[in-house]
């Protein structure tokens, strides 16, 4: 069993607290991500939709924070397993 680095251990202490977005805390950070993703994915959208997309992305990042702060071993296999 490979032990987690200290940085991960410190996350354990936050387990069970209200999730706070670790990334993209600032609204402009989300807007930057949205603009870059839209360009990289060739996914243009009506500027009027920006607010709805930002709202949903903020919610996603809030959920992602809760998952991200949970310590997992490097060896933990992602759930879907490809069978050749």
């Amino acid at each position: 069993m490979i032990r987690k680095p200290a940085a991960h251990k410190s996350r354990t202490a936050r387990r069970g607290t209200t999730p706070r977005p670790l990334r993209a805390k600032k609204p402009d950070a989300l807007d930057t991500l949205i603009a870059a993703s839209a360009q990289a994915l060739a996914l243009p959208f009506d500027p009027a939709w920006q607010g709805g997309i930002r709202l949903n992305l903020r919610l996603i990042f809030t959920h992602a924070t809760l998952v991200d702060e949970f310590p997992l071993a490097d060896e933990t296999e992602p759930a879907p397993v490809f069978h050749a």
């Binding site: 996914l43 009506d46 997309i53 949903n56 992602a64 998952v67 991200d68 997992l72 933990t76 759930a79």
Partner: protein, 467 residues
Amino acid sequence: MLEMAATEPGWSTAAEIVAAVGAGRTNALRVVEATLARIRSRDPLLNSFTALTEQRALARAKALDEARARGEPLPPLAGVPFAVKNLFDVAGLPTLAGSKINRDAPPAPRDAALIERLESAGSVLVGALNMGEYAYDFTGENVHDGPSRNPHDLNRMTGGSSGGSAAAVAGGLVPLALGSDTNGSIRVPSSLCGLFGLKPTYGRLSRARTFPFAASLDHVGPLARSTRDLALAYDAMQGHDPGDPVSAERAAQPVMPLLHRGTEGLRVAVASGYFKSQTAEAVYAVDRVAAALAANRDIQLPQPERARSAAFIITASEGGSLHLDRLRTRAKDFDPAVRDRLIAGAMIPASLVIRAQKFRRWYRTEVLKLFAEVDAILAPATPCTAPLIGQQTFQLGDVELPVRANLGLYTQPISFIGLPVVAVPVPLTPLPIAVQIITAPWREDVALRIAHWLETQGVAAAMRPSF
């Protein structure tokens, strides 16, 4: 029975129809004609159907009756009308999946696998059902087809995304319907409309020729007004199907012979912590079921809130990826609420999605340990009874939560790891609510046995609405 079938088409259960057809008290054609007539007269109130397959249904019913006249044995679901959520392929119809965009798709060349299996067992497909757009929905509302309406109160939501499936069965239009469940889309409408719903183990029932949503979470299953009907349909649909890449290579494990075994010896616990609902209706329903089962023990699922979050991320990402081309070319044809969620989902960094999938593995391992101690776990199916159509928020304890995202609060951490669940409706006035009976993978038999026992005790029942 025959009189009921003759005078009140739609309210007989599948088992009652099979018995009446088998005894020659009626025939498949009369059952199907009466069903179609009832759908035409009553569905304008419920808005549950998006297509009727009248000609093929009548032809199928006649063929069944002709086979019987030739002395051939009747199949186990002979003459039972059923309908499917419109993400199931129906030969000759475009597979809408609740969308405007798919209306331009060519007609499906072949029925979905589960339609073929039910019809091989004697059932008769009568139509396709309304649903939330692309199944990204817990409400049963649809901006293109209008909302399906709850038969217990036409001003209220059915729940979704299998909203039409629930409305059609709860409203007595058909005894059986198929739905899909990615995060709760069978169990939520079963709860709000007061039905029995089975979300089987991930991989148990074939999804071949259904329109996907989030592939690693998508399940399909039946909704009905009795546990016997659920079991009849489930048994007819089981078995490996190479047409679905995740279909388990398992032999069918029929449940009907086990249904009457009761609950003796089964260890049942109540999910605690996160699942301790703060609405009076949900608390009452779980307490009533727990008391009937003498389930005095609480059990803590590990990290259910994180499990829900991980399911949320995977769903958004897989959904966003699935629809990426349509988002590029026809974004304005989506329901705006669905569109914004899907665009956001398409932008999630892969590192977060893979982390969610790693958490999923950890969570599965930890939850499965619990089944060494218990055979079944009880949890609310929804945090509340049916909200009003259009309602944006509901109150859970001191917190006001958005309806659309949170009706699946208690279902998401369970389907996340593919556990089988039977939603059992607890009859309350004025509106029903359901309890989830959760078992270990591949133990649908245990969940259905418990559900059947609760039904025989009158603790669980699909109440007939006054509509």
